[in-house]
Symmetry: C2
Subunit: 503 residues, 2 copies
Amino acid sequence: MLQHFKREDDKLDRTARKEEILRLRDKLVNQQQAVLAAKLPVIVLVEGWDSAGKGNLINELICEMDPRFYSVAVFDRTHERDERFPFLQKFFQQLPENGKFLFMDTGWMEDTVTKYLRREITAEEYDRRVESCGVFERQLRDNGYVVIKLFLHISRKEQLRRISALWENRDTAWRVTEDDLWQQREYDRFLKTYDKFMETAAETAPWHVLDAESRKKSLLDALRAITLAVDRALEKGRYVGKASGREFPLLGGPSLKSADLTAAIDPAEYKTELKRLQKKLAVLHNQIYRKRIPVVICYEGWDAAGKGGNIRRLAYPLDPRGFDVIPISSPTPGELARHYLWRFWTRLPRSGHVAIFDRTWYGRVMVERIEGFCSQDDWKRAYGEINEFEKELTDFGAVVLKFWIHIDPDTQLERFEARQNTPEKQWKITEEDWRNREKWPAYEQAVEEMLLKTSTEYAPWHIIESVDKKYARIRTLQIVTDALERAVSENVVRGMKSLWTEK
Amino acid sequence: MLQHFKREDDKLDRTARKEEILRLRDKLVNQQQAVLAAKLPVIVLVEGWDSAGKGNLINELICEMDPRFYSVAVFDRTHERDERFPFLQKFFQQLPENGKFLFMDTGWMEDTVTKYLRREITAEEYDRRVESCGVFERQLRDNGYVVIKLFLHISRKEQLRRISALWENRDTAWRVTEDDLWQQREYDRFLKTYDKFMETAAETAPWHVLDAESRKKSLLDALRAITLAVDRALEKGRYVGKASGREFPLLGGPSLKSADLTAAIDPAEYKTELKRLQKKLAVLHNQIYRKRIPVVICYEGWDAAGKGGNIRRLAYPLDPRGFDVIPISSPTPGELARHYLWRFWTRLPRSGHVAIFDRTWYGRVMVERIEGFCSQDDWKRAYGEINEFEKELTDFGAVVLKFWIHIDPDTQLERFEARQNTPEKQWKITEEDWRNREKWPAYEQAVEEMLLKTSTEYAPWHIIESVDKKYARIRTLQIVTDALERAVSENVVRGMKSLWTEK
């Protein structure tokens, strides 16, 4: 697109252009209200060359807008050195609430292209990230986000002219960075790479290349692109995507039916094993910390299956400076108003840390499915989206472990009744628990489907038989220590390699 | 306290101690429910020597607790180099919600003492920070927080023994840091400084010095201190503090009565002045960015006084990479469940950035006072707390500007009616606006009291006459550019000096 870009003269004269800008700015201000009423989230991604005027364009776009209903996110290349999360995390984190606009001063394009051209990531990792960007954009669209992608284009000559102008003025010389000069030198390589990148998710959301050599013209074109896209989205209503049909390396199980709920452990053996495994885990925690491996441990299971006690035994030997237990309950309004994975993306462990999720993103295909909190398209699409999410984590080098803490209905009843009859435990049992219990068959079906569709080679499910809670604790500890041992002993952790061997 | 610390033998034998630990741990678990029901926020601050076992103690305390109702905050000295906010910000940010526990692995004591002994801050700045810590603790208590302060004490010899043990083991040697060795060398200086620091806020919340040479004994003593403090707080109910009586350098005004609402500007002059001042502001924005001066601009005023348009003219020339407009509306449940300044502490501008607050913390002494959303003690105490908050900001080097955008009731009525009669502006006017209008006299009284009690030398109020909105815009631009010019031209920005001249 860029290589064959031709500057075209607008038919408008100066006055007409000015009037058109004022008209569209007004329109954008009014669209804010309509967008709010329709609960549409709108993302305006502004990419482009250094010195092309990205910041200025954003300012001209927002200058009449109501700040209650938009935000601006700036991704400054120079501050992004610290790669403690999967690269998409920083973009996910900024997602706007339904009804609001987000303007992004560069985003996943600049981040990906620059790291590649700087040789901070390998060619293989670059390809992987380009693919992830496509997945990200598809997920945004499918979850109702309106994404408008603008690219501010200037020629090499014009860029040089602008850099020189900054450089020659004593007050602005400091703004010229090494990065600017480097891009100017490497303009042609950037041009080709930008061009190629623009093929990503081109059907999901097309690029608008703006002629940034004229500020007014690019502003007008940006206003046109945005107001048109918003108008269309308002007309059609919020988009709900279907499942993408992408295939994953599924393991085809496990199934609840295969669980042996009589599994038990001798109390004396339990005591010895618990101590042994906890000690081992403490050592491994140190090692993953030093090797900067992030660890994500997911707990799902029936009410009263013993998740809490299981988690506590697992967490006990961990250094509190390096782990978090993250209890997941019903989403807050702010969480509900965003991509359903947002509240998990923003709670990922930093590399070298452990996050233990007490309930997880699988709520989408269990409680939200069964209670009708999301549409059928939503939960059917979620299996693939979740597989993509977990792939992003493991590609980054994370260990992802998923436990289904399993009991039978009779055991649950016993435990519910025991809670009811013990004064200091009564708070643990609510009306909702009894209601959920009545839906056991529906949940069972949902769980089986989940196990089938999200047990992947890179993030398999483990069913943990927990009629004997002690047995269950030892099992999870075993699986966790085994997995960490493997991760630590591997010389190369995949996703990290791309970052760390070359630095 | 530390210099005269004597190890004392507990009367308990090993078995009795173990049983007592189990009993108190159980008690702590049950207190979680009571604390939740009473909506008490509880902070357990764990300070102490390197290698004294702070992390371990926290782990032993939390191991049976329900992770839904506590969190752990770790302040790692080595990661705190980047001083972009007032030093208390990082502690404020972690404040727990009502009903929850927060365990802190070091806090404001270690942060302050270490920076001082490292000569990262001057002696003068150290004294200032010690005072701020006292203010912080008082504010926490007065706002209902239960703060339990523990110090894990070990002798110099014991510390050496522990460091050596780590060092001699191949797996743990990496955990010995330069900082540990430095503290060991400088043990005596630390001892004296810790001791002196412990006099801070001693009446507000006393320190518990624990004998950390014995893990079990210090665990037991920690459990005793925590459960006792929580029991007492549960018994007495949530504490509500009175105004502290501290004096501030008040300016004694301005008063609304002194405002000349006929003030106006000629439209042609407005146009020229607006351009000139906006251009000037753009240049100044660059300079404060380079000098790393944080800027906080507060907007308050009558409904329909023209805050929004005023803010937009001010924001227009700013580089979007360096400012945020922060609209403040009614607090979310998470905000409501914390210190009322929490949502402002967590939205401060980084040094070099500008934050424009559209409504502010002054809601406490206006809408919250008038609508009875807080108690009389709460809003009466707030004047002083707000003065302290703003002092912390300006001591750090921030420019704090406060505008009251002023009109008379007739002008408001005109504007309300105009909004009502313009279809695309109707959303701007609500039933609530009409209700607030009826309370004009009550608000007027509250505003006058606010202007009187919070107009300080370091953060004065400006009344901006806004019957002529154009006049008002020019006035704020003038005040802002003047203030930034002064800040930029001063060779030394107070609070920053302490940090930056020595680095």
